[in-house]
């Protein structure tokens, strides 16, 4: 069939994916430390480099080239809770999960029944010695340079890492996992935390809505091309030329 049909159909699929991505961003408007997912499109050419220029010009399609996290930070707000902490942009905590080490930006920390520092999903938060921080009670507090105190007793120091090479990808449950072979990210040189504050979601409702409308309109345009190809061009070809 006509190549414009496939080009437009590929566009429909791309816009569908984009809407799905935006839907997830909007669903996470209240998720602490969330980063918006953005995508970019790429022209997809499956042609032999030796193909004729005419063929190469029409036989193209669009596909999602990739996705990335839009930079933050999300808006922080004071909570007055001693174990809430907002991280500067680019910094993450390391947590221990049954599947290995993961990273999180969600600074709503807590203390487990055994006195260890945990994140909001109950996973143990690692200290600078790559070990969990224990010996805490409900009097635990965090200082701006990442020290953990229980009352006036120092109990350890938080491990705060950064991801300059952008190897992290989202896994769900507020967790990020390192894509490469080495899941040990480097600690930041100086910690500058905001205790008593909690970072909200970096998904911005206005930009998400603009992108949503944009994706919807692009979808409509592609739909018109598909519709025109199927209904008008093909019908004319069948009824007028063949008939």
């Amino acid at each position: 069939m006509n190549s414009q049909f496939y080009v437009a159909a590929s566009g429909l699929l791309v816009e569908e994916r984009r809407v799905e991505m935006i839907a997830n961003n909007l669903a996470n408007l209240s998720t602490s430390g969330y980063r918006s997912q953005r995508s970019f499109s790429a022209i997809f050419e499956a042609l032999d480099p030796g193909a004729s220029p005419e063929l190469a010009a029409v036989n193209r399609a669009v596909a999602l080239g990739g996705a990335y996290e839009a930079p933050g930070p999300g808006p922080s707000r004071p909570t007055g809770r001693g174990l809430d902490v907002a991280l500067p942009e680019g910094a993450l905590f390391a947590v221990e999960t049954p599947a290995g080490r993961r990273y999180t930006r969600n600074g709503a920390l807590g203390v487990s029944e055994s006195g260890e520092l945990i994140d909001s999903g109950g996973r143990r938060v690692l200290g600078s010695g790559e070990q969990p921080i224990g010996g805490l009670t409900q009097a635990a507090t965090i200082t701006a340079d990442g020290q953990i105190f229980d009352g006036d007793q120092a109990r350890g120091e938080l491990l705060v890492v950064s991801d300059p090479e952008q190897v992290l990808r989202p896994e769900g449950n507020n967790l990020l996992t390192a894509a490469g072979d080495d899941d040990r990210l480097k600690p930041v040189a100086t910690k500058q935390l905001d205790p008593g504050w909690l970072e909200g979601s970096a998904a911005n409702p206005i930009s998400e809505l603009v992108l949503l409308v944009e994706a919807q309109r692009a979808f409509e345009s592609y739909q018109r091309i598909v519709s025109m190809t199927m209904n008008d061009v093909n019908r004319k070809a069948v009824t007028e030329i063949a008939g």
Binding site: N24, N28, S32, Y68, S114, E220
Partner: protein, 262 residues
């Protein structure tokens, strides 16, 4: 498009729960000893459409993958145990805990309930009981001929009896503390119950071992901040609208597909 609809639906559910939590906080703005709740959310699983690092030719690879998230879920509704403001009542049986610690009361089923609400009264037997009539643990009985009741900062309860000049110590109010009070189970009626997440209670004397001191004649009012709750409520309402907008958009697009063939 199905993913978009379900992601948006999970977003609407999350904001509904946010509003439910805020509504309960606001409803309890005048409940003494009430601690506000905070809903916390996390993103759901991601589906990998294109894996990062997958080869695009013999020598090149995809620098960024495509992962589609599937929405949001509630991770917890956390009680925030910050100190509430104190209200002077001049009632000698109103007590406030300045700092951490819970009063212990004996529930009818024999288990211990924990509360921050120190609005005590006496029952027919002269026992100190909570607002629901649950006796303090350990029990304290005020003699019927007592003229004044004094509760010290360390929890000692002493009375002056008719015809006597000195005061007599009749009991001691104990407090209990938890490593993780956020893990306590809210029972309603201002009561909390111990769980495996909260850890075992550590009983003690007020003012010692990190426990707060008592203050007689005051009540701890709820730690709900009306302004903060209202701001959160507006944000939740707008987020709810935006998610419903996503559903409408996805629906419109599905309709477009339906209309491809005239």
């Amino acid at each position: 498009m199905q993913r978009a609809v379900w992601s948006a639906a999970s977003g609407m559910q999350a904001q509904q729960l946010q509003i439910d939590t805020i509504a309960n906080n606001l409803a309890n703005v005048n409940t003494s000893g009430f601690k506000r709740s905070r809903a916390e959310f996390h993103d759901l699983l991601y589906q990998t459409v294109e894996a990062p690092g997958s080869p695009t030719s013999a020598t090149t690879e995809r620098p960024a993958g495509v992962q589609l998230g599937l929405g949001v879920a509630t991770s917890s509704v956390k009680k925030i145990f910050s100190q509430g403001d104190m209200k002077k009542t001049d009632n000698p049986l109103d007590v406030v805990v300045e700092g951490s610690g819970f009063f212990k009361v004996l529930r009818p089923d024999g288990t211990t309930g924990y509360t921050r609400d120190g609005s005590f009264t006496t029952n027919g037997d002269g026992q100190l009981v909570s607002a629901q009539g649950y006796a303090l643990d350990p029990p304290i009985t005020i003699p019927s001929d007592a003229t004044t009741v004094a509760i010290g900062r360390d929890g000692t309860v002493s009375v002056t009896q008719a015809g006597q000049t000195g005061s007599t110590e009749i009991g001691q109010i104990e407090l209990a503390n938890f490593i993780n009070p956020t893990g306590l189970l809210s029972l309603g009626g201002n009561l909390f119950q111990q769980t495996s997440a909260s850890g075992d209670p550590v009983d003690g004397t007020p003012g010692l071992e990190g426990l707060g001191e008592l203050q007689q004649g005051f009540l701890e009012i709820s730690n709900v901040s009306i302004v903060n709750e209202l701001v959160d409520m507006i944000a939740a309402q707008r987020a709810y609208e935006l998610n419903s907008r996503t559903i409408r958009t996805a629906d419109d697009m599905m309709q477009q597909v339906n209309n491809i063939i005239r």
